[in-house]
């Protein structure tokens, strides 16, 4: 069975091609979705890629969240459609209220590109089921507004429900609360991640191939479903 995964291109998306490449490498059919698409073309899952949608003007993700295609994705996600938001995609998911919290300017105000060690804290989501719980991975981060913030109550709830998907090891490079690098929703189908697994699928072009498992996980989950 072939599964298909869509990648949305907003004006200003940058890592859309990388996400499409990673999906193809994982054995799924990559489908490019345009931000004005009136349909999701039957895709089985969606990736919101990194970049600077609409120049990140106003607030990161705040304009993209109102793209026509997002209405379909928001409705789909509430019905269980697997959605992975990477970096800018994570910001869009927060703006769309599919995930709690927000991503603010990095603590010391610098855009930061690093080969970052992470621990995978929830290996049960649609996007992380191929990892062992607690596995250590190295995946690039590259963002200027990646500092995850939420209320104490929300943070406690995320921790209690095991919804922290990934945490920075050795301290958050951007000041994220509780070193959070990625979270999921109650259902585990929507994941937001600041690091870029699509840049860690081949040691030729990334620091490792540790990120590949995000993409093979979704293929496995979709085939099993």
């Amino acid at each position: 069975m072939t599964v298909s995964v869509g990648v949305v291109t907003f004006p200003g998306s940058l890592d859309d091609r990388d996400a499409l490449r990673a999906i193809a490498a994982a054995g799924a059919e990559p489908i490019s979705l345009w931000h004005k698409d009136p349909s999701l073309h039957g895709v089985d899952a969606v990736v919101l890629p990194g970049g600077f949608s609409y120049g990140d003007y106003l607030r990161c993700g705040a304009i993209a969240r109102f793209s026509p295609v997002m209405d379909l994705i928001i409705a789909g996600a509430r019905e269980g459609l697997p959605v992975l938001g990477i970096c800018n995609g994570f910001q869009v998911l927060c703006e769309a209220h599919l995930l709690p919290g927000a991503l603010m300017r990095n603590a010391r105000l610098h855009f930061t590109c690093l080969d970052q060690a992470l621990s995978i804290e929830n290996a049960e989501t649609a996007w992380t089921n191929g990892y062992a719980q607690g596995s250590r991975v190295v995946i690039p981060i590259k963002n200027g507004e990646g500092r995850f913030v939420a209320s104490q109550a929300t943070l406690d709830e995320l921790e209690a429900e095991g919804r922290v998907v990934a945490r920075y090891l050795g301290g958050a490079p951007n000041g994220s609360m509780r070193d959070i690098a990625g979270i999921t929703n109650e259902r585990g189908n929507v994941v937001g991640l600041m690091p870029h697994p699509e840049h860690a699928i081949d040691p030729l072009t990334g620091p490792s191939s540790d990120g590949m498992t995000f993409f093979t996980s979704i293929v496995k989950a979709l085939i099993a479903a």
């Binding site: 990194g50 609409y54 120049g55 610098h110 855009f111 590259k142 870029h196 840049h199 072009t205």
Partner: protein, 752 residues
């Protein structure tokens, strides 16, 4: 309000125009009057003044730059698809791919407004690459500042770095390398040189030309605003209009999102083959784009300035012509293709407007409110500006500089002295770890980066469909060039060439960014001509062509010019990116060799600079045959040696430290017995590299070195947690790492 139309100009010959305030000399103005047969209108004056500026006309450098085009090495003629004179040169890299690359300066704007100056520098060079029909695929930058601890450096550097990152990151272009240098000569005049590289199919090249009468001229991208037209306020005040004098910012403001969308829009337009010619709007804005397109095309063009979409409706016509608003392009489109062109612009929400058409005449006619405000032969604006043969004079202090030989300086002799010299160099801002800067740039986007800083060269895979890769290095050395502009420029060329070879690629072509003081200073002009001659001779010797570049004059504070600083970008190709080489010692137990000859050469060296603040003597010897032989060994040793690092600033000692730090492991070194340890460690002789090789491949390396006549010297082995130099010193890698990485953090604050 009276419009200064052509007929008005003809009937009011005695109006006094502020040409001197716009930078035109008396004789230049007289020539404009002679060309037109009357005084120019204000709009024409605006166009001629910007297009005849040093920046746009290359009037002081033109006659010297010609030798690059006239002396293309024979072996390079087949690969050079587009040479000097277009927006950027294009070379054939094989498999049907063509590559265009170019470096450009944005020095003065970056000093005035560091963030926007540097950001728009990136934006401008990327548009040059796009204009050739290519997808931009990577950027690099070469930065020079005053002393690292100078208050003005603390103002300028963080803004420049944030601007390069802010623009390039948002465009989605990986930043794969470059250089950062500090020297007192750049205090008050930092150098911000940006390089961009793009890839296309060989049949996809676009040119800046406007052929075919009846074809439409389309302006697309951002609306035109009042930025970058500081000079135009002189004109506005000259007209004594009711609005009074307008104050305009002289530095442009960038919008990388608009440029990202413009890139995608253009590439879709190119793929559908919808343009007959295209030009980006950079310096001199519409004045430049319309006159260059018309000049290179049929010759005639009619523009209706009222149709230009404006951000500020109060702009005067001469301001619209001079505006340097960013993120704009001008295309020539056949009438039958206009609908398809507009459809793609609509898809990307890019504003596009037909502002005129190509005519069968020979004049560029521009209308404003139904009046003809410009009527000029376009070649006289764009391509036939003034050309100067400026006087030259060898700098009076050069003999004294040469006589001040570093051999007279106190030098370290004992092991502990050598170690403290090493540590002083490692923490010095020029040699320290630059990740505080480079971590602010996205090196991963596009997923094709196979090498990036701090490796010797940046390398990218051409695209997913191939293993073909491009390597790029960008190097300059102002101190060497100050001591000897001819050999200094050649040393910059050799270093970039060697860096590309170290990565495993074959050097193919160069671009240059020539940063000098005032061409009106005969000593600066002498430095300039010597450097050009050096580069031209060097390229012939190395067999690689100059494809294009940029000249930046007037880099000086008061009457003191910067150290002359030609920055050379070398492009190379590698057939299989999997075989690329980092500088990192990759595993324990490999053997380390030095390739090349070490002489006692400390003139202009990093050691003399750091230890003594000294600049004197002669720069290292240039030996092109040795460079070619070394590059051949490095290239043929792809798959044989597992790491390679060129030797340059700081010599062998610095190279060893960098390869140890990059690999996170130590090395045990024994220096040759017949060379003074200080010379072996810190001399900056060129045509040298270190390599790391597995024991079972040493024989193959030795036969390659012998075949090319390159001396090979066993230095020791990789491994351990210390750098040991036998009989001299031992230092922990951890200590070296802390020393190297601490400098920028303590100067510029914590990152993150």
């Amino acid at each position: 309000m009276t419009i200064d139309s052509v007929s008005n100009a003809a009937s009011t010959p005695d109006v006094v125009l502020p040409f001197a305030a716009l930078g035109l000399k008396d004789d230049e103005f007289a020539r404009i009057v002679e060309i037109l047969g009357r005084r120019p209108t204000l709009c024409e004056l605006a166009m001629y003044s910007v297009m005849w500026s040093e920046h746009c006309s290359y009037k002081s450098s033109k006659r010297h730059l010609r030798q690059f085009a006239e002396r293309i090495p024979v072996q390079a003629k087949d690969i050079l698809l587009v040479g000097m004179g277009e927006n950027a040169g294009v070379v054939d890299v094989g498999e049907g791919f063509a590559v265009t690359f170019k470096a450009e300066s944005h020095n003065h704007p970056s000093y005035v407004e560091p963030y926007q100056g540097a950001a728009t520098g990136v934006g401008g060079i990327v548009r040059d690459i796009l204009t050739m029909g290519a997808r931009p695929v990577a950027v690099m930058d070469s930065l020079r500042f005053g002393p690292a601890s100078a208050p003005d450096t603390l103002r300028v550097l963080p803004g420049v770095v944030a601007g390069i990152g802010g623009y390039g990151n948002c465009l989605g272009l990986p930043n794969i390398g470059g250089e950062i240098v500090f020297d007192p000569s750049y205090l008050g005049n930092p150098l911000v040189n940006a390089l961009a590289v793009g890839v296309m199919r060989t049949d996809g090249i676009k040119l800046a030309t406007a052929p075919g009468p009846g074809n439409k001229v389309v302006l697309f991208g951002a609306r035109t605003g009042g930025d970058g037209i500081g000079g135009a306020s002189v004109l506005a005040s000259a007209t004594f209009e009711a609005e009074g004098q307008r104050k305009r910012p002289s530095v442009q403001v960038g919008d990388p999102f608009a440029e990202k969308v413009l890139i995608e829009c253009c590439l879709e337009i190119f793929a559908a083959d919808l343009v007959a010619g295209i030009q980006d709007l950079g310096a001199a804005g519409l004045s430049c784009a319309t006159s260059e397109l018309a000049s290179a095309g049929t010759g005639g063009m009619r523009i209706v300035l009222d149709t230009v979409p404006l951000r500020d409706p109060t702009l005067a016509p001469e301001e619209i012509l001079m505006s340097e608003s960013q993120e704009r392009m001008c295309a020539v489109v056949e009438p039958s293709k206009i609908a398809a062109f507009m459809e793609i612009c609509t898809k990307w929400d890019v504003t596009a407007t037909v502002i005129g058409e190509v005519t069968d005449g020979d004049r560029l006619d521009i209308y404003w409110r139904d009046e003809l405000v410009v009527s000029v032969p376009p070649r006289t604006v764009a391509h036939e500006g003034p050309v100067y043969d400026r006087p030259l004079s060898r700098p009076a202090d050069l003999d004294a500089l040469h006589a001040d030989d570093p051999v007279l300086l106190p030098r370290p002799r004992s092991g502990p002295e050598l170690l403290s010299t090493l540590l002083a160099l490692v923490v010095s801002p020029n040699l320290a770890d630059k990740s505080w800067v480079t971590d602010q740039y996205d090196r991963y986007v596009m997923g094709n980066t196979t090498l990036a800083m701090p490796d010797d060269a940046g390398m990218i895979r051409v695209d997913d469909s191939t293993t073909l890769g491009l390597a790029l290095a960008l190097d300059g050395n102002g101190r060497y060039t100050r001591l000897d502009p001819y050999f200094g420029a050649q040393l910059a060329l050799c270093e970039a060439y060697r860096n590309v070879a170290a990565s495993g690629a074959v050097p193919l072509a160069i671009t240059d960014c020539l940063n000098f003081g005032s061409p009106e200073d005969p000593e600066v002009m002498w430095q300039f001509t010597e450097a050009i001659r050096g580069i031209a001779d060097g390229c012939v010797a190395l067999g690689i062509p100059v494809t294009g570049g940029n000249v930046s004059f007037y880099n000086q504070t008061g009457s003191t010019p910067i150290n002359p600083t030609p920055v050379i970008g070398v492009l190379g190709v590698i057939s299989d990116v999997q075989l690329r080489r980092s500088i990192a010692f990759p595993v324990d137990g490999e053997q380390i060799f030095l390739l090349g000859i070490t002489r006692e050469e400390f003139g202009g060296s990093e050691w003399a600079h750091v230890a003594h603040g000294h600049l004197g003597g002669h720069p290292p010897l240039v030996d092109f045959d040795a460079e070619i032989a070394l590059a051949s060994v490095l290239h043929e040793a792809v798959g044989v040696v597992s790491a390679a690092h060129d030797l340059s600033d700081g010599g062998l000692a610095q190279a060893l430290v960098e390869s140890c730090l990059r690999g996170g492991r130590g090395a045990q070194i024994a220096l040759p017995a017949d060379v003074e340890p200080f010379v072996a460690l810190f001399s900056e002789s060129s045509a040298r590299a270190i390599v790391s090789v597995a024991a079972d491949r040493v024989g193959r390396l030795a036969s390659l070195a012998a075949a090319h006549g390159v001396p090979l010297l066993a230095l020791g082995t990789t491994g351990g947690s210390t750098l040991d130099v036998e009989g001299q010193f031992t230092v922990a890698i951890e200590e070296l790492a802390a020393a190297a990485s601490g400098t920028f953090h303590s100067l510029f604050g914590e990152r993150g």
